[in-house]
Symmetry: C2
Subunit: 176 residues, 2 copies
């Protein structure tokens, strides 16, 4: 039994993000007049890239929203009509300069399902070759780290990007 | 070097969620005219609750936003001026009927830092006693599951709630 929409107020719509206030009826009959919903018209991808030494590729992002520098995995938005596996390959190249082989979809999840319908597809892949430089607009540095280093970073709460934390734990600790 | 705000258009403000379109200057000089930012004035908590058999407490949520039923851990919003440890205790009681002991903050992260400044504080705690019923507005059922069952659920991509996936992996697979 899923709550259903009775009506919708469109607060804002754009191709980056939309915001609605919906009137919603719950299975037990309760009516919530304004259930906010942050809508994304596109999926996101996040990619755990490994090399032959079983190290993982991290990027240092300069995040405007959180006003912080973050060690993350490559991630980004899937463009219109782009297969998400292509978006995964493209984002890794743009953000790290590496080409990848054998990208595999390992998980789909909603980062914040109480208010946002954003969907993240998590991929894992192997690094093939460094083809170029990373995009210096949002990426400040890249590095390869061992599983031990990632474990230490997580133990010390150093990975604060949810997509990165999720992807790294799925691959390194859940065997996906 | 962090991107900085040059100006802000307020699209919508409320005590649930706000939306801004900011003009942002990047460290390399690039100016982005509309960087959308979904702002939350409050923190969220998510709680991994264990019993003496080392099982984890899951709730079945009826999610309006994703139009789905989800197995999740108890989670919710921290009220104004409420310490987040109290919110953790309150949310577990409301969503499961259980009181808890020894709640410990184990992690803070941003579920979707490309666009949202939402902060989630992850707690772990021990179940003390079933004091009452769970709130039937959003919770349809509760159950205790073993680590093996959680592992299987994750391996089969059955946990789609990001807060739950993150909390469960931090406690069960990262030793936090």
């Amino acid at each position: 039994m899923i709550p259903k929409r009775l009506s919708r107020e469109i607060i804002y719509e754009s191709d980056w993000v939309s915001l609605y206030a919906d009137k919603v009826e719950y299975p037990n009959g309760y009516i919530l007049d304004r259930h906010h919903l942050v809508h994304f018209d596109y999926k996101s991808v996040a990619v755990v890239v490994k090399n032959e030494k079983d190290e993982v590729l991290l990027i240092k992002s300069n995040r405007y929203v959180t006003q912080s520098e973050e060690w993350e995995i490559p991630a980004g938005r899937v463009d219109n009509d782009e297969p998400s596996i292509k978006a995964a390959t493209r984002e890794v190249l743009e953000e790290t300069g590496y080409t990848i082989t054998d990208p595999q979809l390992i998980y789909k999840y909603n980062p914040s399902n109480g208010i946002s319908d954003q969907v993240v597809a998590v991929y894992k892949a192997n690094a093939l070759k460094k083809e170029g430089q990373f995009d210096t607009l949002e990426v400040m540095d890249i590095k390869w780290v061992s599983k031990e280093t990632v474990t230490k970073m997580i133990t010390q709460n150093e990975i604060r990007c949810g997509l990165s934390l999720t992807g790294l734990m799925l691959v390194l600790f859940c065997g996906l």
